[in-house]
């Protein structure tokens, strides 16, 4: 590391998180490619690999490991940039979090490779994996708590030193993200520590299946917001700077994050809508709360396009849509997240379908849901993270994003978008025709209904495989570009050449931010009340009226 890196010790922590994340992308993408090809009937797996083993690895490594490690690498870099270099103590805690998470990841990944844990990342009981799989996942969560605590300590130390001042937007949003994560991951921690681990060691004979699923989904939905909020941080804070504009409104940006804390948690039943044992009234209550969480996303969409328009007009754009021509489409730092935003429009609309109470029955557990997943986390979040990689990594390592690397990034983004377009469109349409998710190649004994899934273009499994293959090429390019930017790109010789961490300034017209937005006790209090309203009665019912539990079963 050279002199243009302002805080080499903090950078080393961040880049370590990112390295683990991109190794996960490499392995996870290989699994994804094989799955697509198997399902399309293009290849058959050798007997020592099981399709469902690949599927578990793909989900765990991409949805859990890559996201969490990338997020922590990004957030540590951002809080160090905006609220000052980490204290030695805070940084040490950050490292402890890193190692606990990494050991947990290795532990769970080993069990998957050994074929001891082909239970998917959702690990629904009573499928029973090796205890070390659950312990590994628990360590990933506990490690994330430790790392999250380090960031909270840094934020509160800043507040103490700068009493009366408004915290930097990046620091505020990081704090909101970590608080959301702490409140929601309690659910998965309870089910893993008190249900799965004792049961997998044989200390408990049976498990309450419905309770374990409910605790999982109490965590599982806010988990998607834990992935999304860091992408929103980049959209709100970094994109305005990249396009040469300003943050549209500081207070509305903060308000939207508060609304995410409030409404992303008491909504897990919308993943359990077609399930027995939860009455319709409670399902519908959580459907209503789910719809509330659309509000901050509508606010975010408005803010972004308002930033785009005001920036375009400041650059001399004329007419109703002239500003669209002024955006820097040739800059991968903008182009990649922008493509992500476009995918989020159908992604969000599809989400409303999924959450719509009885309408969920039409698509529940079909390939539609997999398509949805890939155009929400798999593109808006992932392309934003990839787009950020092009400045975050050279910023951390004192290198430069050269025009050639920028061009490679543009090609990477286009490949990802094209591959995702084919794959996700085919998945959505096949899902509407009833094709199941998480299922290996099958023609169901040549049943006419199943053979329909091999006809047409967008209703054909082979189109899924085609899109998946393009995505695999894009993923390999990205892994290469990450390591190139981290270790081989040309070094910045001075501060002028150095890659910046883009932090937007707030627009002049934005009026003072109300202080209550930074009063976390109020918001945590409200979310606890909402959680108690949404969950107390149905969970009590699940425990008091529980059927006999289920003994462990291994079906793979």
């Amino acid at each position: 590391m050279n002199s243009v890196v302002k805080s080499p010790k903090d950078s080393k922590l961040s880049i370590s998180y990112l390295i683990v994340g991109f190794i996960a992308v490499f392995i996870g993408a290989v699994c994804g490619l094989l799955q697509g090809l198997v399902r399309g009937g293009v290849i058959e797996l050798p007997s020592f690999i099981n399709y469902y083993q690949l599927l578990t690895a793909h989900g765990v490594l991409l949805a859990l490991v890559f996201t969490t490690f990338f997020i922590y690498g990004l957030l540590f870099a951002g809080v160090s940039k905006t609220m000052g270099i980490l204290s030695d103590k805070t940084r040490t805690i950050g490292w402890i979090g890193f190692w606990v998470m990494t050991i947990g990841t290795i532990c769970s990944a080993t069990m998957i490779i050994l074929g001891e844990a082909s239970v998917m990342y959702t690990f629904y009981a009573p499928l029973q994996a090796h205890p070390l799989y659950y312990i590994g996942l628990a360590l990933v969560v506990v490690g994330s708590w430790i790392g999250g605590a380090a960031m909270l300590m840094h934020y509160f130390a800043w507040r103490k030193k700068n009493s009366g001042k408004l915290s930097p937007l990046f620091g505020y949003m990081t704090t909101a993200t970590i608080i959301l994560w702490l409140v929601c991951s309690i659910g998965v921690a309870i089910t893993v520590l008190f249900q799965f681990i004792p049961w997998s060691f044989g200390w408990a004979d049976r498990i309450n299946v419905l309770l374990s699923r409910t605790l999982f989904w109490y965590f599982g939905h806010p988990l998607v917001y834990f992935w999304l909020l860091p992408a929103y941080i980049i959209w709100y804070v970094s994109i305005p700077k990249i396009i040469g504009g300003k943050v549209f409104s500081d207070s509305l940006a903060r308000l939207s994050f508060v609304l995410f804390i409030l409404f992303s948690i008491p909504v897990g039943f919308h993943h359990q809508l077609t399930e027995s044992g939860i009455s319709e009234g409670w399902k519908f209550l959580q459907v209503v709360l789910t719809f509330m969480v659309i509000t901050p996303s509508l606010m975010t969409a408005f803010s972004l396009f308002a930033t785009f328009e005001t920036t375009g007009r400041a650059k001399g754009a004329k007419g109703l849509f002239g500003w669209l021509k002024k955006l820097p489409y040739n800059d991968v730092r903008f182009f990649a997240p922008f493509m992500g935003m476009l995918f989020f429009i159908p992604g969000g609309a599809g989400g409303i379908v999924n959450a719509s109470h009885q309408m969920n029955t039409a698509i529940h557990n079909t390939l539609w849901v997999v398509g949805h997943f890939h155009i929400t986390v798999g593109t808006p979040v992932v392309l934003t993270f990839f787009g950020a990689t092009y400045w975050l990594v050279p910023y951390l390592t004192g290198r430069k994003l050269t025009p050639a690397l920028n061009k490679a990034g543009m090609i990477q983004t286009i490949l990802w978008s094209v591959g995702m377009f084919f794959m996700s469109t085919a998945m959505h349409i096949l899902g509407l025709f009833g094709a199941p998710r998480r299922t290996a190649y099958s023609t169901y004994q040549d049943h006419p209904t199943a053979l329909e899934w091999f006809h047409g273009f967008f209703s054909h499994y082979t189109t899924v495989a085609l899109g998946g293959t393009i995505l695999f090429i894009a993923a390999m390019m990205m892994v290469y570009l990450f390591f190139h930017l981290a270790f081989f790109a040309p070094k910045a010789e001075n501060d002028i050449e150095a890659t910046e961490f883009p932090i937007g300034e707030v627009a002049d017209h934005a009026i003072t931010t109300p202080r209550i937005l930074e009063n976390w006790k109020v918001w945590i209090g409200i979310v606890v009340v909402l959680i108690l309203i949404a969950y107390t009665v149905p969970v009590t019912d699940m425990i008091t009226h529980a059927p006999a539990g289920s003994p462990p079963i291994r079906t793979w």
């Binding site: 079909t366 025709f433 299922t439």
Partner: protein
């Protein structure tokens, strides 16, 4: 807190849309009876074959061209593995699992429900068109998950 005028319009439009959606969904559910499958009956998942009605799985006529189908989902199939019903028959499906979590899904119909051990889930469908209906499991249940199926012949 200052909201831009256009942002107010945008949010009012967005929130009104959500209210309209929720109203349609809610009215259809609670007064039209279009609810998601929500069986509330429970049983011991290790004693499914001794618990009525699953001690005699299969089809039972409960009214004029109206049937009750009591089925057991298991790794990797359904018991029984085939049903035959006349055209126009209304069938109430009661399904439970004797092992892991499965689903009972008939593509092309509104029958699609999770089958969790210890619980009985319920859905109904009127088979107006003749033909062979595929039933499949869309919740991962093990190595043979993609083989798990049965058929309903409507004649």
């Amino acid at each position: 807190m200052h909201f831009h005028r256009y942002e107010k319009y945008w949010l009012i439009f967005g929130l009104s849309t959500l209210v309209v959606f929720l109203t349609i969904v809610g009215v259809s559910a609670f007064s039209g009876g279009h609810q998601p499958p929500t069986g509330m009956m429970t049983l011991d998942p290790t004693k499914v074959e001794q618990t009525p009605p699953f001690d005699q799985p299969g089809l039972k006529e409960i009214g004029e061209n109206t049937y009750e189908a009591n089925l057991i989902a298991l790794a990797f199939g359904y018991n029984p593995s085939k049903l035959e019903v006349p055209v126009g028959a209304k069938v109430v499906f009661n399904v439970t699992s004797k092992d892991v979590v499965h689903s009972f899904t008939i593509p092309g119909t509104n029958v699609n429900m999770m089958i969790t051990p210890g619980h009985v889930n319920t859905s109904e469908y009127t088979f107006d068109k003749p033909g062979s209906y595929l039933v499949l499991c869309n919740e991962y249940c093990g190595t043979g998950h993609h083989m798990m199926q049965m058929t309903i012949e409507v004649k």
